[in-house]
Symmetry: C2
Subunit: 290 residues, 2 copies
């Protein structure tokens, strides 16, 4: 457990330091957008996707430091998606992680542009990573596939269109899979690719991520019903006009799904000897309290 | 002249065909966003950036067909920037190229997401190009550098902040350089990189593009004052609350700048034997009537 905490803290600190070094060029006149980008990027996220990415790189056999630009890239994509999701024309949220949302501080236009710039910077950062070009191209391809209209953006589209509708379980699953799991899957697969994974390792990363992504999102739906608003730093009960796993299955069945998917995630790691960290991370995320 | 037209038509048709093959997967439930992406992507743009990209690839010695994914990528970036620029929180435009703007047809949320998806798809398309990984990484890096907070997005930020302000000539130059010229420069340099350019050729592409970009934008400011709204398919005289080259220098001096920069663009091509197409393209863009 102590080893676990040490490794988690190390990953987070290195990611934090890397991100904190971004968008600091004081000579640029467009300082406002840099401030807006950093406001959301350095807002104290849990850095789950970067952590998973770095650990898969390490497990597949390469120094995880070489994957730091990729870890930063996926956190930039995640952050941009939060900024745009919070916009008045989308979910219209005023708070995120206990702070005012980006457009509440910088205005709507700047929030759109900060999101655009973070998305672009993700690919810029990854493209300039100090790694083999073939690795960079593979990692970039995984990220772009997962983030675009076939993945995360597609999920947000379905989520918006599904508001106030009675969705079937399949639809809710598809939305969550695209909107949340795809980027978690990308994190794990990017890390595996950065680590020079063979096919078996890449497949393990994919299955682990898909199961973890589902457990993570079901837990999110449960926390939205059960969670404590103060602890979560955002409004809870916001999803009452949406079909969720909880509204479809009830809390008891959701708990069962989470256990089942967590077990599936852990089983997927069989090809790795040193799988304690990812095992504990899956459990930590699936059973988190806030 | 006939050769010129044939080559231009060929490039445009091949780019059009490539773009028309994108975002057509009928099996995806998130069909609305695909429709929104295609609505703006296939709205009859002049495809200037793709044309420049393909020609520089050819001039530097490689089959320009290998660069079609890169040409599509830069047009996707250009298109996303138009969609987001037109949003109510930005320039709030109702018409673009003679048609309703994206958010007027699909709503604001979908327009934000269609833009996000096009930007992501640009990198996805480029990352999956059938070219050497080292070429792909170079091309991607040029595109991301030019499109982000240091380039095009930064220019839009300064443009927004400069509204209703009395800008100095330097500021207006910086805004145009970032907002318009950077992406034209990226097009030329991406084409050169795709064509395996040496340092001299890459530098020629850069200078040509910078001069052309400036001429292009000064001409844009002039057309905004002088142009015919019906021909341009968009509202003219929209920039009256902005400092422009025309408001700073007057029409006569603007004409002189355009001639000077066009000559500079043409001179930059000295290292290429077969430079007629790019010479004519520079003149066509700098002296266009609408």
């Amino acid at each position: 457990m102590n080893d676990y905490k040490t490794r988690m803290d190390t990953y987070r600190q290195e990611v934090e330091a890397y991100l904190n070094g971004c968008f600091t060029d004081a000579s640029l006149p467009q300082k406002t957008v840099l401030d807006a980008m950093r406001y959301s990027l350095l807002a104290g996220g849990k850095r789950i996707r970067p952590v998973l990415l770095l650990e898969f790189c390490r497990l597949c056999g390469r120094d995880y430091h070489t994957a730091l630009p990729f870890a930063a890239a996926i956190e930039m994509v995640h952050t941009y998606s939060l900024i745009h999701d919070d916009l008045p024309c989308m979910d219209n949220d005023d708070y995120r992680r206990g702070r005012l949302t980006n457009h509440k501080v910088f205005g709507e236009a700047m929030a759109v542009l900060a999101g655009d710039a973070l998305l672009t910077a993700a690919f810029d950062t990854a493209a300039h990573a100090d790694a083999e070009p073939s690795t960079v191209v593979k990692v970039l391809g995984i990220l772009a596939d997962a983030a675009g209209e076939k993945g995360m953006v597609g999920g947000q589209v379905l989520d918006l269109e599904g508001e106030n509708a009675n969705l079937r379980a399949d639809d809710v699953y598809t939305i969550h899979m695209l909107k949340t799991s795809k980027l978690i899957e990308a994190a794990c697969c990017m890390g595996a690719a950065a680590g020079g994974a063979n096919d078996e390792q890449m497949q393990a990363a994919r299955v682990y991520a898909q199961a973890l992504g589902l457990a993570f999102q079901v837990r999110d739906d449960m926390l939205d019903v059960l969670g404590d608003a103060a602890k979560m730093g955002k409004a809870t009960g916001m999803d009452t006009n949406k079909s969720t796993f909880v509204s479809l299955y009830g809390v008891g069945e959701c708990s069962r799904i989470i256990e089942q998917q967590t077990a599936r995630a852990v089983d997927a790691l069989a090809c790795f000897d040193d799988r304690d960290f990812l095992t504990q991370t899956a459990k930590m995320l699936a059973f988190r309290e806030y």
